[in-house]
Symmetry: C2
Subunit: 406 residues, 2 copies
C-alpha cells in the first residue's frame, strides 16, 4: 500500500469516496479520502495519468467531474485503488500528492440545484402518526402506495462543521389562538442519508426502477434539522417550510454506489402490492450502520441512536422512479434525502422527537443534564459505515453545533 490505512478506517481501499477540500496552500479542489489522508486529484492529474480534461478536478464542486459519466468516474476510482495498492505505481514516492485530513478544510462536495426530502421509513412515519394523529391509524392512506416526498431548500444545505444559529419563528402556545415569535424551543435533528444524482434528464423524461442505479452517483450522511414547534404551526396545508430551511448538513465525502454494492440487502416486503412503476428487481436496500451522538458544550459525547439504512421501506430506485414518473427533470448534483431513518427498537429512532417521545422520556447526557430536544451549544454528530467480510466502507461523519439564536 502506498499509504498507511489505519485498521477500521471508514476510508479503506474499498471505499475511495470523492470530496472537495482545501488547505492553506491548496485552493478548493477534488480529492479522495484514504485512511487519515486525502489524495489530491488535481495534483495526481499533473502526472498525466488521466485521459480526460482534468480541469474538472480544479473546480469548487464535483459536478463537472460527475458529469463525465460513470464509465469515467468508475475507472478513476478503480485506477486509484490499483495505484494505491501497488507500491511501484505512479503514486509511489510522491508524498506531496497526499494531505492529512486534519490539515484540510472540507467544502460542499457538489452544487445542489434541487433538494427533495422523502419520508420513507415506516417506523418514523408510524411514530409521527401515533404522536400527532391517530395511534390506531398512524399511517396515512397514501403512505404504502407513494414514496411520499416534498421539495426542500437547496441554498441552506451546508457541509459538516458549519455551526448554525437556532432559528426564530412563529409558534402557537398550547390552548392559544395567537402565535408568538421567538427562538424555536424544539430544535431537532433528523438522521437521514442522501443520494446525489449523476446524470441529467430532460423535462418529460422518466427513469424506471431498472434504470435508476445508473443515475445515482453516490451517498452522504444527512442531518435534516427541524424546528418542531415552528413546523407544527406552519405546515398545514402545504408542508414544512421555515421549520426545515434554516439549515441541513451533509457529510463531505460522497461514497459511490459502486463502493456500497457489496452491502446491498433485500428490503421489507411491501404490502399492499405497489403499482407497476414502483416494482423493482434485486436487492436495493443497503446495510449501513448509523449512529447519532450529542455532545453538550464542554462535555463528552453521548450516543443517543443506533439505526441502519436497511430499515427503509421505500428504496432509492423507487424514490427516483416516483420522482420522475410525471416527467420532472433532474440534474447532476441534486440531493434526495431518505427521510428520518428509524428502526423498530426505541434506541434506533432517528430524531429526538421519537427518542424522547415528544418530551415525555428525556435522554440523559454524560454531564447529567437531560435532553428533550437540542440545546444551545450542543453538537450533533452522525456516523455511518458498512462492514462485511472484513471490508469496511464508511462515511466519516456529519457534525454541527447549534449556536444561540441571533
Amino acid at each position: 500500500m502506498i499509504i498507511n490505512i489505519p485498521e477500521n478506517s471508514d476510508f479503506s481501499i474499498h471505499n475511495i469516496p470523492f470530496g472537495i477540500f482545501s488547505t492553506e496552500e491548496r485552493s478548493p479542489r477534488a480529492g479522495v479520502a484514504i485512511g487519515d489522508h486525502i489524495l489530491d486529484l488535481a495534483a495526481v492529474a499533473e502526472l498525466d495519468v488521466f485521459d480526460f480534461n482534468t480541469a474538472v478536478f480544479e473546480k469548487e464542486t464535483l459536478n463537472d467531474f460527475i458529469s463525465l459519466g460513470k464509465s469515467i468516474t468508475k475507472k478513476v476510482r478503480r485506477d486509484i485503488q490499483l495505484w494505491l495498492e501497488n507500491e511501484h505505481s505512479v503514486l509511489a514516492g510522491k508524498p506531496e500528492l497526499f494531505v492529512k485530513q486534519s490539515d484540510a478544510q472540507m467544502h460542499m462536495p457538489v452544487y445542489v440545484g434541487d433538494y427533495t426530502d422523502f419520508y420513507s421509513s415506516i417506523e418514523h412515519a408510524t411514530n409521527v402518526g401515533k404522536m400527532f394523529r391517530d395511534p390506531e391509524n398512524a399511517l396515512l392512506p397514501n403512505w404504502k402506495h407513494i414514496p411520499v416526498g416534498y421539495h426542500g431548500r437547496a441554498s441552506s444545505i451546508v457541509v459538516s462543521g458549519v455551526p448554525v444559529h437556532r432559528p426564530k419563528g412563529q409558534t402557537i402556545p398550547n390552548d392559544s389562538k395567537q402565535p408568538i415569535f421567538g427562538p424555536s424551543q424544539r430544535v431537532d435533528f433528523e438522521l437521514e442519508m442522501g443520494f446525489i444524482t449523476g446524470k441529467n434528464t430532460n423535462l418529460g423524461d422518466t427513469i424506471s426502477t431498472e434504470q435508476a442505479d445508473d443515475y445515482i452517483f453516490g451517498l452522504v450522511l444527512f442531518n435534516d434539522w427541524s424546528a418542531r414547534d415552528i413546523q407544527k404551526w406552519e405546515y398545514v396545508p402545504l408542508g414544512p417550510f421555515l421549520a426545515k430551511n434554516f439549515a441541513s448538513h451533509i457529510s463531505p465525502w460522497i461514497v459511490t454506489l459502486e463502493a456500497l454494492e457489496p452491502f446491498t440487502v433485500s428490503g421489507p416486503k411491501q404490502e399492499p402490492e405497489v403499482l407497476p412503476y414502483l416494482k423493482y428487481q434485486g436487492n436495493k436496500n443497503y446495510d449501513i450502520n448509523l449512529e447519532v451522538g450529542i455532545t453538550p458544550e464542554g462535555s463528552d459525547e453521548q450516543t443517543v441512536c443506533r439505526s441502519n439504512f436497511k430499515y427503509m421501506y421505500w428504496n432509492m430506485v423507487q424514490q427516483l422512479a416516483h420522482h420522475t414518473v410525471n416527467g420532472c427533470n433532474i440534474n447532476i448534483g441534486d440531493l434526495y434525502g431518505s427521510g428520518t431513518i428509524s428502526g423498530k427498537d426505541e434506541n434506533s429512532y432517528g430524531s429526538m422527537l421519537e427518542l424522547a417521545w415528544m418530551g415525555s422520556k428525556p435522554l440523559k447526557m454524560k454531564d447529567g443534564s437531560e435532553r428533550k430536544f437540542i440545546n444551545d451549544g450542543d453538537t450533533v454528530t452522525m456516523r455511518g459505515f458498512a462492514e462485511k467480510d472484513g471490508k469496511r466502507v464508511g462515511f466519516g461523519e456529519v457534525s454541527a453545533k447549534i449556536l444561540p439564536a441571533k
Copy 2:
C-alpha cells in the same frame, strides 16, 4: 424616439424589462424589450458606453448582470431610456442594435437556484378551503398570521412557449382505497406573479420588510401548473410534489421593481394584527391587471379570467421577511411565486378549479366545447400590465400548450 413604439405596447419607454434572447445569428444574450423590438445589450456594450465589465451581457442568464447591484442595473435602465428618447444618442442610426421580437427566441431570463411558492391570496385560500374543507371555516388558523409558503421544484421552471406533456401519476378514484396510475384528468393552471431576488444573503441573515425592496430585482408572470387529482392523493402530510413539479412557466421579460413603482397601491387591512416582523410601511401592493385565456387546438382564445395583483393579502416584502426570519439564505435569481391570484368576483378566480368550481360550472370555449380543466391541445396564455396617467408597463405573456401524456 430612436425606434417606433406602438401605442398600448407593454414595452413602453417606461418599462425597459430585461431578458435573454437569441436569433439565428445571435447566441443567447441579454436584451431589453422596447415596443415590438429587442435592444441587444451585448451589441450596445460594443459601443463602449458602459463602465462595468459587459461580459455579463453575453451570458446565458441575467444572474451576473443582476449581481452588479441595483446602483448599476438602475443606471443601465435609465441610460437606455435616455438614449432611446434622444434621436441623437449613441443608439442613433444603428439598426443592427435592434432585433424584431418576432425573429427572436426567448430563453429563461435567470438561473433559478431555489423556487418558493406562497399562498397569499385570501380569496384563493378561502375558495380552496370551502371546496375541500369546511365552508364555515374555510381559512386554516395559521393563514392570517403566516404568509404560508412551501418549496417548489426549480429544475422544471421553463420559459413561455415550451410545450408540456400532461403528467402521469397516482390518483385515487372516489370511494376507492386502491390508487390507479395514468394521465392526470385534472390539469389546471394557476395564475400567479413571481418575483426574482437580486441580492444574496448569508445563512443566518434576515431581511426586514423595510429592506426587502432592495432585494427584489423584478417580477414576471408565472403559471404554476397543477394536477389536482395527483395533488389530492399525494399532498398529506408534506405538501404538493408531483402535482406541481412537472412544469411551471414564466414570462421571459423581467419587469424591474423600479418600472412598477408608479403603480403601487395600498393592500387590504390585515386583521388580526400581524406579528411585528411582518409589519410594513407604505404601499406594497401593485395594481397590475391580469388575464388568462384558453385557446383550444384549432380554435380562438377565450378569456376565462380577469384578475389583479393588487388583491394579494400578503405582499412581497412580507413574504421575503417571513422567508428569511429563521436565517434561511437567498440567492440572486431565486423565484418566489405569489400563489394563485383570485379576486372577489367569480370571473377573477385564478384557476380552473375555482372558475369551474370543481367541475360543477364548466366554462364555454369559442368552439362550443366546455372545460372543467385543461384539455390536451389547449394553450393557456396569461397577460399582465399596469397603466396609469397614460403610462403603460406590461409583462407581455406567458403561454404554453398542454400536449397529450407521453
